[in-house]
Subunit: 459 residues, 2 copies
């Protein structure tokens, strides 16, 4: 970003005056930095410049732009030209492009691509067959295929031919029998091997792969666990469909993490960065949850009204309600964050719920007792408050923190059990739930501890 | 995990009866899966088995264990033997091991390593020179060095020699002049080149690198941006110190994300997984924040007590306090999550604060108006509540949601400005802050709208 900020204005000027210089810049700058500069242009300028570049130079820049930028540029460029650029893009980036375009535009572009590059069009269809967030949708359908009968030297020659024709390149070659994957050999193993060694002796047949239907988050976790740079996608017949590369996995990790943070914050996940999200879309994505939480919180008012005969009978009781219920919410939010993250990284399994319940209950008792003690001291600082009331506040805090910890830790597990993303049990959602429970707990503790004071109070 | 679960018991039995079979298993299973199985053993069993393996077979298993597991095993094994295993570990994993050990143990082990493998000991010292979460601490200090005068064929021969002697291998060779990095060439480029091509014509001299002092999160972002599998670490003199590989970057991304989720949830980040965190350490890490938030929340009680002349004069007013202030907290939590994540992925810069302020203020007005309308309807459903009170609730909601959105969005930026991790401005922290502001807003709106009702009310 800094580079584009420093060079942006100058380069924009050069590009406008003499667009042919972009080709020279391509040699000097990383395509990623050029993409940053293109991001700063208006979409019509960017489209005009890209159109003047040969497709093989335009593709590496275009494929690095944000989805919404690509969409704007596509709208300003003849379909035929977009198809030419698409034909030069990496297969997975190309599929992403089709995915983000409005359907009508995508259909037209695919027809055009079919004429320009039938193989690329076929690859788009193959990848689009699989669900949006699956391994199949992440994969690249081009890879180096070798036969088990080759020698190391011959395999290296195949790799050389492939690498000189394809931009996307991975340091593995895949041995197929028919369409079925039977072995993997790394370029490293080929380099170390004697040139006349047979591939059949070099390949590894214990292959770590994923099925095309596997969720992208699980795919990412698997690849990260084994420290792989590329992983084959293999269907249930053993047929190799493509490879997933580590750069896509990093994008998945970052994207899934963004969604989790937004859900935990009580927002429907945004699809695009903060500044690209339209005002209206924000109102929708935030408004839904705010309204749900607001209505959930109605019950605090209903509960307080319902128990007014208790709250009114104890001087100052209502003033402690926000303090008490927010403490329940805070402890619940802590527990839910711990469990949501533990589930996301695979440290915690659904079956652990019983151990977690016991742990959180214990933590609730200890943390609640700590806060209860502080709370009692606080009440006793007021000369006009009774010891019984202080005790009520103290015991309520123990009960409320226990409630918060158990509800906060169990809800994500329950959601997971029912196939809902655990991150949906956001901190505010748990807080609202615990708020209502907190009022009920408070009133009932008071009824027991302050029974003599409340003797005359009735609904 | 599943594999170890299925095979674990059987393999444990085999390992106990005939540990020599581990070597055969090594060929069959990925070291990662073997590490899973070792994780399920008691630390004394694991130590005994590892001790019976040759160091070069033990190292790939040992380096994949969790830090606390390594520490337990080290405590049960002769230092001399740990040093032999350490000598076979990848340089970065080895440095991590020393990092996690108690200082006295580390010093003794380093002396032992010095005798077994002086180069490895030197590498540990080199990496430990740099701060814990810096690029220097992540790097591996071994890499392929080539001279610019070589041909492609000669460079491949150097790479072959290196790869046959080192487990950790990256598909790049680095051209140095003296100690200074002057060019990078990928194995792919060497494969595609003619064997007699000169390296001086093949290397790229525009090198994307990081300084050793760069924070690991920024290092990860840089590497992800350029889709690199390995990136050199270069000091301010241009001297090449090591390389960072993509697998370490994935670990960084996952670790930093876990810390963010925990901070957003109002917990001091844990260093180890949920079930490995001791009860006491949980009490400390959760208790600190719960107490801070609890004391922060005292002010809601103080504020309500301070304004009791207003709250008491309006029938049922106190019952609406939890509803009103939690809505402020929810909107604030949404804004802070958005900004915290935007800062973490680099979409948002500190300088954007003014644009964000305007946006969030606008969103606060619209979202507040929506909720205010619903809130008014709710109040009017009660026959005993006046229209003026309904209007008070409605207007208070607009003001409170505006407050929540602006405070929630600005606080992470302010923290970042002062060098504090923005994720510290957790949702509960913002909620507690907004709770107090909410009560003050409520009372002052009521004073204006319900002036006639409150005419007789005085402190």
């Amino acid at each position: 970003m800094r580079l584009s900020f420093l060079l942006g204005p100058d380069i924009k000027q050069i590009l406008k005056e003499d667009p042919d210089q972009v080709r020279e810049l391509l040699d000097e700058l990383h395509a990623e930095d050029l993409a940053d500069i293109f991001s700063e242009l208006d979409s019509d300028e960017a489209a005009a410049l890209l159109a003047r570049l040969p497709a093989e130079d335009a593709a590496p820049i275009f494929e690095r732009l944000e989805e919404h930028e690509q969409e704007e540029i596509v709208a300003q460029m003849p379909t035929e030209h977009v198809a030419q650029i698409a034909s030069e893009m990496a297969a997975d980036d190309r599929a992403d492009l089709f995915n983000s375009l409005p359907e009508a535009v995508g259909v037209e572009l695919l027809e055009s691509l079919q004429r320009v590059d039938p193989q690329a069009a076929e690859e788009v269809r193959e990848i689009e067959r699989w669900p949006d967030t699956s391994a199949g949708h992440l994969m690249n359908t081009r890879f180096v295929i070798v036969s088990l009968g080759l020698t190391a030297r011959e395999a290296m020659a195949s790799i050389r031919t492939y690498a000189s024709q394809n931009d996307e390149f991975v340091y593995n070659a895949y041995a197929l029998q028919g369409d079925r994957l039977v072995g993997v050999v790394s370029v490293r193993d080929l380099i170390v091997a004697e040139p006349d060694d047979r591939l059949s002796d070099l390949v590894r047949s214990h292959i770590i792969s994923v099925p095309p239907t596997l969720d992208q988050e699980d795919t990412a976790r698997r690849m990260a666990k084994y420290d792989l740079n590329a992983m084959p996608v293999v269907d249930d017949q053993g047929v190799m469909l493509g490879i997933i590369t580590i750069d896509d996995i990093i994008d998945v990790l970052v994207q899934e993490q963004t969604e989790d943070v937004q859900k935990i914050g009580g927002i429907e996940p945004l699809d695009v960065p903060y500044f690209q999200t339209s005002f209206l879309s924000f109102i929708r994505k935030r408004g839904v949850w705010l309204v749900v939480l607001f209505i959930e919180e109605f019950f605090t008012q209903t509960a307080m009204r319902h128990y007014d005969y208790v709250l009114d009978a104890i001087k100052g009781a209502t003033y402690y309600v926000p303090l008490l219920i927010s403490t329940g919410g805070n402890s619940g939010g802590q527990s839910s964050s711990l469990i949501i993250r533990g589930l996301a990284v695979g440290e915690i399994k659904k079956g652990d719920w019983w151990r977690i319940f016991i742990r959180e209950l214990g933590m609730g008792v200890v943390l609640g007792a700590m806060l209860g003690f502080i709370g009692m001291l606080r009440v006793l600082m007021y000369k006009d408050q009774s010891f019984k009331f202080a005790l009520t506040i103290g015991l309520t805090l123990v009960a409320i923190v226990m409630t918060g910890c158990t509800v906060g830790s169990m809800l994500p597990l329950v959601l997971k059990r029912f196939g809902v993303d655990p991150a949906t049990s956001s901190a505010p959602f748990i807080a609202s739930l615990v708020d209502v429970l907190g009022i009920i707990v408070f009133v009932h503790v008071a009824k027991v501890v302050m029974a003599s004071v409340l003797a005359g109070a009735h609904p």
